[in-house]
Amino acid sequence: MKQILVLWPSFLVAGIAEMVFFTVVDPQQLFLFGKPVDFSPIATYSIGFFGFWLVCAASSLLTVFFQRPGEDINRAGRAGN
């Protein structure tokens, strides 16, 4: 369930971000470490999508992490002692 909560919303948002970003920006006009991107456009789109997905998933992961109620952490701490 947690994996779904991390991966799925980030997938949806990454899809939207990909669409908006590459509608506005031509992959051929991007620069990578100061050099023009020389991947094929499909590769750029794909890498872009997974990049967005990764970033969004990181955010979802933090959300899931912080959602843990305080009691849980207290209990885990006591159990560890």
């Binding site: 369930m1 456009p41 499909i42």
Partner: protein
């Protein structure tokens, strides 16, 4: 289009709907597998019609040719979307936005009127689950056989059946993935790579990726996608009101439920019309019991209506113990006429009004779309310079976009200052069909023109030679040195 070999319904009285009760509150991982019993009937037929229509469109469209190219192609490499006679550019993102707004309002509108029509009949999740279930039933048999097979220990026969099912699923899934990629990479290129199996690595990746998605969503996850992953399922409730058509169980008529012999008048045994055969639960793709009232898991597929109507026919009771009705209609005993009379209400009128307006804006936008677009960019590197012959020169780049599907020649001229002209330029430019031509122009004026150090508005006129109504009048500035 029904399941041709679906079993005649056996009335199994008092088979409790306990299996669903157990499922509720269960976590995602420990969910009980829902064995969906296939059903035929009016609404099942509608679903199959929509399966055919949507899938013929989806699988068929990439094969369609138009003007010597693929009719529908979202060509990512060229950054152009071809949809029949139209060619859309990134600059047309406005239309995409409007299209999304139309989809959203259509969803609101239809949900307010008749609940989850989209989920029940047209959503890809429903459509592919239906196809995958059909394959499963063809290979493993009906609901009871499938449950028995899953309980049985692994044997040669079980392995064979499972392997056959998963192979058939995989074939459908891979073909779906291939079709999906064919919307973004021309089908001809993909087909050309088929025999030597020389797909680009990213094409292979996306075919497998989308194929795997189809396989897991339609074969394994099924109702869990609707229950846990679909955002629409979560917020559709806000578009419901007491006049929204939903699938309801007529509790007043059905209760107290219980088994009885065929043809017995329910009143004579002190019971309602529900014989508690639990078929409505068995056919439910999300495994809920509609008799507990409206639940967010209900995707509105109406399979329980088909099942119950069949049972009512067998018992010689009137149909419609489970039916499309509204909360108000059930409470106030309305007939069809009153239900229809309440379709028009502020909520639907507002949704419908906005939907109609946005649709009109979309059509108007498409109809008046300019077949020519020009961007004028002043060369910022050299502001202005004096060139031989006592002339001041400014450099501009013109991006001329021919949006039509025929090559066109355009006349380019400049005006706004005395003696202004374009150097070394024949006055016209040829732009191939559906493409952009970048043109660098040196525009010159005599040294004694205008005030030194001033910035002057000039205009570029770009006119199609074959149709003077296709013209663009674009402003820019001309700088004079001090």
């Amino acid at each position: 289009m029904n399941h041709p070999d679906s079993q005649p319904i056996k009335l199994v009285p008092s088979q409790k709907a306990a299996e669903t009760a157990e499922q509720e509150g269960s976590l995602y991982e420990s969910r009980k597998k829902v064995y969906v019993r296939s059903i035929s009937g009016v609404f099942a037929n509608w679903r199959w019609i929509l399966v055919w229509v949507t899938q013929l469109l989806f699988y068929g469209l990439p094969w369609l040719q138009w003007n010597g190219r693929q009719a529908v192609l979202f060509h990512l490499v060229e950054r152009k979307f071809y949809i029949f006679g139209w060619v859309f550019w990134p600059q047309d993102v406005f239309f995409l936005a409007i299209l999304l707004i139309i989809s959203a309002y259509a969803l609101f509108f239809f949900t307010a009127i008749a609940g989850r029509l989209w989920c029940g009949y047209a959503c890809p999740q429903t459509v592919y689950t239906e196809i995958f279930l059909w394959i499963e039933e063809k290979i493993e048999g009906d609901r009871n056989k499938r449950m028995k097979l899953d309980k049985a220990p692994m044997s040669g026969r079980k392995f064979g059946l499972k392997a056959a099912k998963h192979t058939a699923w995989a074939v459908v899934a891979l073909w779906t993935g291939f079709t999906f990629v064919a919307y973004f990479t021309p089908l001809k290129e993909l087909l050309g790579s088929f025999v030597p199996f020389a797909f680009g690595s990213w094409e292979i990746f996306w075919i497998l990726f989308y194929g795997a998605f189809t396989y897991f969503f339609a074969g394994i996850m099924r109702e869990q996608v609707c229950k846990y992953m679909c955002p629409y399922a979560r917020f559709q409730g806000v578009m419901f009101d007491p006049d929204t058509l939903i699938i309801t169980y007529d509790e007043e008529r059905g209760e107290p439920r219980g088994s009885r012999k065929k043809g017995v008048d329910p009143a004579s045994v002190g019971k309602g019309d529900c014989i508690d055969c639990s078929l409505c639960v068995q056919v439910c793709p999300t495994g809920i019991d509609i008799r507990k009232g409206l639940q967010y898991e209900c995707i509105g597929c109406a399979a329980c209506i088909d099942a119950c109507d069949e049972v009512m026919d067998k018992m010689n009771y009137p149909r419609g113990l489970i039916r499309y009705s509204t909360e108000n209609a059930l409470k106030k005993h309305w007939g069809r006429k009153e239900i229809v009379g309440h379709v028009m209400r502020p909520r639907t009128l507002i949704y419908g009004g906005i939907l109609a307006l946005v649709c009109m804006a979309f059509v108007w936008g498409l109809a008046t779309r300019e077949p020519l677009r020009v961007d004028v960019i002043r060369d910022r590197a050299t502001l202005s310079r004096e060139v031989a012959g006592g002339l001041i020169e400014n450099v501009y780049q013109l991006q001329i976009m021919n949006m039509t599907e025929a090559p066109r020649s355009f006349e380019v001229s400049v005006s706004g200052l005395d003696g202004i002209r374009i150097a070394d330029f024949g006055g016209q430019v040829e732009v191939p069909s559906a493409s952009m031509h970048a043109l660098t122009l040196q525009v010159r004026v005599p040294v004694d023109t205008g005030e030194p150090g001033s910035s002057n508005v000039i205009h570029f006129d770009i006119k199609a030679k074959d149709d003077t109504s296709v013209a663009v009048h674009e402003a820019s500035t001309f700088l004079l040195p001090r």
